[in-house]
Symmetry: C2
């Protein structure tokens, strides 16, 4: 029998841990994070239903591993988006938002897993850490645009406002709560307009 990913040579699998993460990622996208069962993942990896517990303490630990992996990919996407534009330009900031939404739309299941209520976020401080590193990219870009230091409160405020917007837009979109087509605009235009408004007009102080 052929296995999903790495070939299983004999009694031992080879790299079950990595294989499980890949299999679960696929299951999450096809069935949603809530419908993923460890048993099914084990079946697809070609091992018994007890095997995963040799690598992950419980279901939550496995899911956290998938989420952490995904957060790395999101950060990489955003890093690339930032590097494709002049530092501190409005285009750069918009590109970060577009990359965020694109990730959510391309991988809604894993996006929900990352940003939904992660059960064991206390068991996974690394997740919060990775998340903050990602947000740091936005703060840096905003600070550069405003011409202030990255730790200036104004940069954090504006960056948060933009994050909340693209975050909400992403969820409304992937959860089908609003038909954006109805608004008659594409993501890029919306995000660009919002970035401009927040950076050049918003003054919460």
């Amino acid at each position: 029998m052929a296995e999903t990913k790495s070939a299983r040579r004999g009694y031992h699998h080879g790299d079950l841990r990595a294989d499980l993460i890949a299999v679960v990622r696929a299951l999450i996208e096809s069935d949603g994070p809530d419908h993923v069962s460890i048993a099914e993942a084990a079946r697809r990896a070609g091992v018994s239903s007890a095997a995963p517990y040799k690598h992950f303490r419980d279901r939550t630990a496995l899911m956290n591993a998938v989420a952490a992996d995904a957060m790395d990919r999101l950060r990489a996407d955003m890093r690339a988006a930032a590097d494709a534009h002049p530092a501190g330009s409005l285009a750069q900031i918009s590109a970060l938002g577009v990359a965020y939404v694109a990730f959510a739309v391309a991988q809604p299941g894993v996006f929900r897993l990352m940003f939904g209520l992660t059960e064991g976020h206390e068991d996974a401080p690394e997740l919060l850490e990775k998340g903050e590193a990602t947000f740091g990219i936005v703060i840096a870009a905003v600070a550069a645009y405003l011409g202030v230091a990255p730790d200036d409160p104004r940069a954090g405020q504006r960056a948060y406002m933009l994050w909340a917007f693209v975050h909400g837009h992403s969820f409304l979109w992937i959860d089908k709560k609003a038909k954006v087509s109805k608004v008659g605009l594409n993501d890029a235009a919306l995000i660009h307009a919002m970035s401009d408004a927040v950076l050049n007009r918003a003054d919460p102080d």
Copy 2:
């Protein structure tokens, strides 16, 4: 034995349907929507685990009923917020946002249920309908502020931008993905600043 809500007089419960909705609502807030089990709800209502299926086709149908009920309450909250301010004022629009976030923070479980990926949203078109009615309040307020007709695309666009923002802010908050305290602002100030920026600067066209 005393039951959770209505007293059960004999073999029949009295109003199991309503009681189940109330019990499930409580369970959702204490354990989260995903951890609610029909069996536990039945236990708390003092009936057998099969009884709920006489009133709801399946778990999803019960959850949808709870969500629909909650959407009515959210709309009422927002209606009240709107009525407390002059029509078409910036204060009115901010108040709508504040009411939305307040609902999310006060009842995070049911908020997640309403706006998360509802499994059977196709089985519950009434939910989408109620949601659109609620959003309609925002559109009307925005249109009044801008001095345009409610069906003017500009009203819909601005209203959507504000919705996405408060929606994202709500989820980041209840899912503990960002410490808003770090930003150093309260909800009202943030929402007010955003409303002003979107309504007086944003121009996606």
